[in-house]
Amino acid sequence: MKELSELNFPDDVMYTDDHEWTKMENDETIIGISDYAQDQLGDIVFVELPQVGETFEKGAEFGTVESVKAVSELFLPVSGEIVAVNDALEDTPELLNNEPYTGGWMLRIKLSEKSELDQLMNKSAYLESLKG
């Protein structure tokens, strides 16, 4: 596993305690897992994602990510309806390891409650929480 200083944390996304990130784009938000999360998990071999059209509450489990070490649950940072799912992850789950913030995006969500975004962490707050 890498040192925090070796990991990448973009400024233009928000983070959660469960190590997901989210980024607004127009009225929708994109969701993925942070560089820290993928580094902790190790080689990712399988991702299970929900279907377009499903609706989830904030904090709900929306899927799982399986690495050679463990299967971990994924939790939604905000409430909303799934409008797109990254199908590329089905055959190339390693995108999560290699490009967690770009090619490794997971979901696109139509927010039901924009104010929920205010409860997420920016880069410095997230880094602070990782240093714990």
Binding site: F46, E66, S67, K69, A70, V71
Partner: protein, 444 residues
Amino acid sequence: MRYLPHTQEDIADMLKKIGAGSLDDLFTSIPDDCRRKSDLDLPQAKTEWELNRHMSGLAEQMAVCPDYKVFIGAGSYDHYIPEVIKQLLGRSEFFTAYTPYQPEMSQGTLQAIYEYQTLTTRLLGLDVANASMYDGASSLAEALLMSVRITRRKKVAISRLIHPLYRQVVRTYFAPTEFEVVELPVLESGQTDMTGLQDLETFAGVAVQSPNYFGCIENLSALGEKIHSDNKTLFIVSFTEPLAYGILKNPGSLGADIACGEGQSLGVPSSFGGPGLGMFAAKKTYMRNMPGRLVGRTQDIEGKRGFVLTLSTREQHIRREKATSNICSNQGLCATAAAMYMATLGGTGIRKLAELNHDKAAYLQNELKTAGFEVPFDTPVFNEFVVKFPEGFEKTYANLLAKKIVPGLSLTPDYPEFPDYYLLCVTETMDKADMDLLVKEVTS
């Protein structure tokens, strides 16, 4: 004879070591009203020779092959087990080992299970098989739960021609869940009636058994086509007699998404109805939703072949309540026996043995028909078939039992709509004289 090894002194000594004053002190964590206050009502202890005599007496009450001519299969089949299997299986490395799954210790066991999985996928015509389930019934229940996991739908359908006990186990598994189990009725041909199955898009999976409980071979390709008219619904094929696939097309080649059933026929004795062997195989797409454990082949750091448990990240010992299923084990010894049996017979041997079963059953079916008995279902069978005996056949049945012949199993308790219907089975162990005798006896 004393059956408990601990003396009062041993017990006092152990209690003292752990700091408990008495046996009752030891059990204080168990709520008072859950503890038995009175003594167990047990008979006097017996000597070893008395006990042996008692057990022999119990065994003598049973009608077993080959002392009796038993024309019953119905989920448990009297097949000959080649001596080589008994010898190999008795080796202590296989026989006494308890869940030996550390790869550094147990390459032999892991390879045996891997071979079992490979042979199972070939017999059933599917991509991936697990290390086995407890028995055919729990295999089916797990397959139905798997279809619910995959489709996230809340309803499953099962044929009324699936073994009655399997259906009972399915209902037991499903009772505490929110999922609904629908039963599909029986056609005049002795096959599953799917014409009334509406709203397929609400069903997670549809399960049939072939050959079914009446011995009739289901038209799997037609059923599969109908089920797959909805692109999510899973087609589940259950079985009690895997030997049938020695001559029948296997479930995988006829469209099954999951095949699950009992493997007792493959080298496991009928015993007293168990232990069984739950065979379970599926298409590769569904691999990650399969219950139970899986042995995979890999390479060590020196590039040498090795066998390890794989996908354990989804099993209960790691994932606890979020595990794919709550089976934490497999039927290791029976699976090893089945692997030995399939490898011993080989593809050609399994085919020949299946032909022998089919031909003998066809002979008896035909002889009974010629003797004037009604064979109510005009559908091809493997080694079991239904005969309608005349009203009041119970008396003949009892007479034959006294002559050590068991002329089939009455279907009426499980299927009241079919009075006087009997299910008969013939395996390779029955010879022509046995069958001729049966025909003669039921005719007279």
